[in-house]
Symmetry: C2
DNA sequence: TGCGCCTACTTGTCTATACAGGTATGAGTC
DNA sequence: GACTCATACCTGTATAGACAAGTAGGCGCA
């Protein structure tokens, strides 16, 4: 069983190749379909196929040799190709703290997007957590996670005050197979919708955005673009 | 002073942006020229500008927000964006060993490509080292390095039997500013040209390639595509 | 056997063009 | 003050077409 292919076509191509690598149809050292073959079989342009293979090569999954072809990389033990950005790790030493807001089982009935992304039938349940991150006492980020309990069992049993969700997921699931959806900070309306928690914090978050009117030279103190939050951790089994 | 801009145009764009970030013209959080501005000022297509900015964002140098713009990322202390692949580290625990063949000062007169790449006048000298890597007793790779002595002083003074060239370079030079040229294994003719060292090893290396005639299904035992060697370590000062 | 040449194929790069979706801002309305 | 709307701009994605450079394999020649 595999998850629903993503919407973007280059992601579909990556998905197509990764699926065969994960299933064992393509083993280490074996030849991957060339760009032109992918063009014919998947009906995409060569630039799209090129992007997909190039990114997989950058992740260390494939190896490309100009003039020869593309091949499944040998197993590399140490280096993990997927770059993981963990805001908690990054700012921990700079006055970072976070608070756990929600930690519960959620049915996917409400959101059709979730059901599709995780390929779940209506009525199925997902582990859900919502954290707010602070830096120097100022609420900066909202981290919302949906985790398939089948691929990361025991997610909700954690004490997220001690172990961050990211740390747990890293320890329990093979990161090479993980698909993380990373987005920048939320626009104002979604923050309002999300943060019905404590009015003052919502105010602060929103005020930091509303301040932007008038001065656009630097977006640094509004967005803190270096840091991000992860919307959904969608981890493939196997 | 800066090094010669690379040949590929998307690398020129990256170079253009990185130079301003390194020089301090663009500080953390500040706005980077948009894709369309780069199109007009550097006379490249938007796809090229897009690729340059996208890769810099993947390296953690920039942060892009759709609909807003591109910004210089905040300083991130821990994570180093440049992914460094070190074959010695990767295979060390799997029967890996290497032998130092050449370790000397070389003038760049012979190669015009080298002089241009390092922006040196004819007659200038470069530190040079040539190692052969083995895995399970079989010679697998040739690692050839040219290092600018001004940016990595003391390179030749190392005992490369104890410290690999890569490890020394990592310790002495800021990797964020490094430009590594990574290539796959050499074609047959260049191996012949390079390896006038010991006939049997050259034979083995070449034989592993000549074996390919007839069976093309898997290139694994010929190339070992997962491992690479670095042709030139060209490290920018500052 | 070794060498150079040619052809077919593969990846790398670049361009022009197009559409989609997100965002900031100002004008207008309640 | 809060909201809606239109506009201008930005990034994300996708395509078709083109040229360059590298490689494998076949062929012929010395």
């Amino acid at each position: 069983m595999s998850l629903t292919p993503p919407a973007a076509r280059y992601l579909q191509v990556k998905h197509y190749v990764l699926e065969q690598v994960a299933a064992g149809t393509l083993r280490a050292g074996e030849r991957v379909p060339s760009e032109n073959e992918l063009v014919r079989s998947l009906r995409v342009s060569r630039m799209t196929a090129n992007r997909a293979l190039k990114e997989l090569a950058a992740d260390g999954v494939l190896v490309r040799v100009a003039g020869v072809g593309t091949f499944v990389a040998e197993q590399r033990v140490h280096a993990h190709p997927l770059e993981v950005r963990n805001i908690a790790d990054e700012i921990r030493s700079r006055g970072h703290e976070y608070r756990v807001r929600v930690q519960e089982l959620k049915t996917v009935e409400a959101s059709r997007e979730l059901a599709e992304r995780f390929e779940l039938k209506p009525g199925a349940a997902l582990d859900y957590s919502l954290l707010t991150h602070f830096e120097g006492g100022v609420p900066l980020q909202v981290e919302e996670r949906y985790v398939n309990p089948q691929v990361a069992p025991g997610y909700l049993a954690n004490d997220f005050e001690k172990v961050t969700p990211h740390e747990f997921l890293v320890s329990v699931a093979p990161l090479q197979r993980a698909e993380h959806t990373v987005r920048a900070l939320l626009p104002e309306r979604r923050i309002r919708r999300l943060l019905k928690l404590e009015a003052d914090e919502a105010c602060l978050l929103i005020r930091r955005r509303t301040f932007s009117r008038g001065r656009v030279a630097s977006i640094a103190d509004l967005y803190h673009p270096g840091s991000r939050y992860e919307l959904a951790a969608n981890i493939q089994p196997r």
